[in-house]
Symmetry: C2
Subunit: 193 residues, 2 copies
C-alpha cells in the first residue's frame, strides 16, 4: 500500500536502505494515529490542526509536518490503510450471502468517523478522473456481478447497494447503523425488472 509520506524516495529504493519502523518511530506513529482518530471522532475532521494533534500525541508538531506535509495528507494516509484492496472478497458459493457480508463490511468500515471523514474528503476531490477513492469498490461490485448465478449488472450493484451506503456515510452517518445489508441485497437480487 502506497503511503503518502515525504521520504518516499527511500521507500522505492531497493531493499529500503534503512527505514525505521520499530521502537520510537512506531510509538510516535501510533500515538499520532490515536490522536487523529480521537479528534476526528470528537470534533470532526474540520477541527483537525497539526498543533492540536501534536499536543495530544505528545509529539513535536514539526515531526508531523516533516512526515506528511499537511493535515489532509496525514488523514488520508492514516485512514487508507484500513480497507486493503488485496484483502480478498467473501466467496462461499452463496452469492447472496457473499454480497451481504461485503455490504456489511462496507457499513462497518464507514461507521468509523475517520473513514467517513476520509470518504468526504475523497468526495470533494472526486469527479475528474476515474481514480477516486471508491474505484476499488466499483471493481469489486463488477466482480460480484460477473459471478455465476448473478442476475444483475455491476451498475445495479452500485445503484442498489453501494450508493445507499455511501450516501448515508457521507450525509447521514448516524443512520448508517440502521442500514440493513440484507435488505439492500434482497432489493438487488429479487427486483422485478
Amino acid at each position: 500500500m502506497q503511503s503518502h509520506v515525504r521520504y518516499s524516495r527511500s521507500m522505492v529504493a531497493k531493499s529500503s536502505p534503512q527505514r525505521r519502523t520499530g521502537g520510537r518511530s512506531a510509538l510516535v506513529l501510533t500515538s499520532i494515529r490515536k490522536a487523529v482518530e480521537e479528534l476526528i471522532a470528537e470534533r470532526g475532521s474540520d477541527a483537525i490542526t497539526i498543533p492540536l494533534v501534536a499536543e495530544r500525541a505528545g509529539v513535536n508538531h514539526s515531526s508531523i509536518y516533516r512526515r506528511w506535509g499537511d493535515a489532509r495528507t496525514m488523514i488520508n494516509d492514516l485512514a487508507t490503510y484500513r480497507l486493503d484492496p488485496d484483502r480478498g472478497l467473501p466467496d462461499t458459493g452463496d452469492l447472496r450471502a457473499d454480497l451481504t457480508a461485503w455490504a456489511q463490511e462496507l457499513i462497518g468500515h464507514y461507521s468509523t468517523p475517520v473513514n467517513a471523514a476520509l470518504l468526504r474528503g475523497g468526495a470533494a476531490a472526486a469527479g475528474e478522473s476515474e481514480s477516486d477513492c471508491l474505484r476499488d469498490r466499483r471493481a469489486e461490485a463488477a466482480g460480484f456481478a460477473a459471478r455465476p448465478g448473478s442476475t444483475f449488472s455491476g451498475d445495479q450493484v452500485i445503484d442498489l447497494l453501494v450508493a445507499p451506503i455511501i450516501y448515508r456515510a457521507i450525509f447521514l452517518p448516524w443512520t448508517l447503523p440502521e442500514a440493513d445489508a440484507r435488505t439492500y441485497v434482497d432489493e438487488l437480487c429479487d427486483r422485478s425488472a
Copy 2:
C-alpha cells in the same frame, strides 16, 4: 426556510424587522456566490479560503465571516439554495410520473458541472449536523412518501432514488446522463418487498 446565516434571529422574527435584500447587499451576495462557484469549479472545495473568495468577489473578508462564520457553512448554504426550496414539486396526481419528473430534475440539476462541484463541496462539509445541502431533498422525498397511493417510505426514496443519483453526481458525473429516472422510480414502486 431556515438559512444558516448568523443573523438568523432577525429572520425568524415576525415580518422580518428589517432585512436588507436589495442593492449593495444583494450585489455582494451574488458576487460571493459567483466567486465560490468559480473557485470550487477551478480548484475544488479544499482550496476555498475566505480571503480568497473575498478578494475575487471584491468584498471584504469580514463580511463573509459575519454572514456565515466559516467556509464550510458558507459552501453548504450556497449549495443548498442553488435549487430553490420554494420552487414547487410536480403534482399531477400521478405519483409515478411526479417522481419521475422530480428525479429527472435532480439529474438535470447535477449534470451541470458547477452544481456537481458545489455538491462535492457540500459533501465534504457534511456529516456533523443535520443541515447539509441535501436536507431539502430529503424533505421533498418524505413529502412524496406521504402522498396517497405511496407504497414506500421516505427512507426508501432516499435509498432507491436519491442515493444513486447523488452517488453518480459526485463520483461518476460522466455516467449521470445515462441514469434513467424511470428505472429508479420503477424499482421504487414495483419492488417485491
